[in-house]
Symmetry: none
Subunit: 204 residues, 2 copies
DNA sequence: CGGGTGCTGTAACACGGTCTTCACATTGGG
DNA sequence: CCCAATGTGAAGACCGTGTTACAGCACCCG
């Protein structure tokens, strides 16, 4: 989860909490790294200076204000922030709030590989921005592959992890679904799923 | 600012903070006193018991969860609350959060999507300025969809969130209500509610 | 009190899509 | 070259959903 922090030298306590919360701090100068949330550290600053936080990030990016208890009243009349946390902040609380704000950005549910995108919230798939019509099982299998790319999975493993642990059926079922997936991915992308003879399949 | 508190005997610390924050606690039994926010005190309770908070207030009423730091992880996987506060809670922080949630409530008096408008204050719906006659359940379901458009909801999730957490009934009930909704929305708008096979329904 | 009316939940059925399986063709390795 | 493993196509079983009808209720009105 990528967040932008301002001012760039936050209190060491906030920096620690961000690490514990599992957040990656991005460089404001790096245009490519779009954050899912901005964190404004008001522990040592006055609010008026930092209203400009809105200008630092793309419109729609939620803003979390971190503030000392004594400065809370200052925020009451402001409306540029989307959530607040009182320092010293609990890392778990920070993570919960960041997650929630990121979900508001609704980018967290997006899985992607090359020009494939899977939106797990809407169950929609696109290839090069063109919608692809996948059936339920096709979608579940492809999602598993994208989430676990780079290693070989046996048919039995795929059956238990995608179809369900209690599933009892022929292993060839996997083959057929792989085939249909390759067909829907198209000619040039069909090698995304590699057959490893006598072992199983690998994605990516 | 009127708030509903559950359980009815909150910790004395929360009770004090509510007074200091300037909140009036309403009686759950009093139907006339509609609160602008519900406060769920999880300091001494487990979350699972109190998901029912959603059932205590009208749909759309925001819910503030008050939780001890040690129980924070419990809330991470839940989605029935709109904001949270870690106890012991600062009265000023409580006031700021309640204000924000109450404002959110007021802004939702008018919900709209395309040429559909829902007036949650009067329970009236219009399509292209033409009034539509919706039954109670139809209205509640449509309102949930409009408020949570853009993602898929399983039948079980819809039963929990629209019918109530303690509701136990067949999942097919949702199907029938979706059908009735589609019929009243009319031919050309019936695809607002998309069926996602083996998963559920998505609005918008 | 009794009948009517509208809302809600559930059961039953039909239809269409999807999954699974099978038979057969093709490939690849020893 | 042979055998095992995999690709391919089609057929049938199965599952999920749309649709309709109906029963139980609550409510209203005479």
């Amino acid at each position: 989860m990528r967040v932008l922090v301002t001012p760039e030298e936050p209190s060491s306590e906030l920096a620690d909490a961000l690490v514990l919360a599992g957040a990656d701090v991005v460089d404001p100068a790096d245009d490519g790294a779009s954050p899912v949330c901005a964190v404004v550290d008001l522990t040592n600053e006055v609010a008026s200076v930092l209203r400009r936080a809105r200008d630092l990030v793309a419109q729609g990016t939620p803003i979390l204000a971190v503030v000392g208890a004594e400065n809370l009243p200052l925020l009451e009349t402001e409306d540029w922030w989307d959530d607040l946390a009182v320092s010293p902040i609990n890392p778990v609380e920070l993570r919960v709030r960041l997650r929630r704000l990121a979900a508001q950005m609704e980018n967290e549910d997006l899985l992607s590989y090359d020009d494939l995108e899977l939106d797990t919230a809407t169950y929609q798939a696109t290839l090069a921005d063109e919608p692809v019509d996948l059936t339920y099982m096709e979608y579940e299998l492809l999602r598993f592959f994208v989430e676990h790319r780079g290693r070989v999975w046996s048919r039995e493993q795929l059956l238990s992890r995608v179809w369900g642990y209690e599933y009892f059926g022929g292993a060839r079922t996997v083959d057929v679904h792989v085939r249909r997936l390759r067909a829907k991915l198209g000619e040039e992308r069909s090698d995304w799923i590699t057959t490893v003879r006598s072992v199983g399949y690998r994605f990516g």
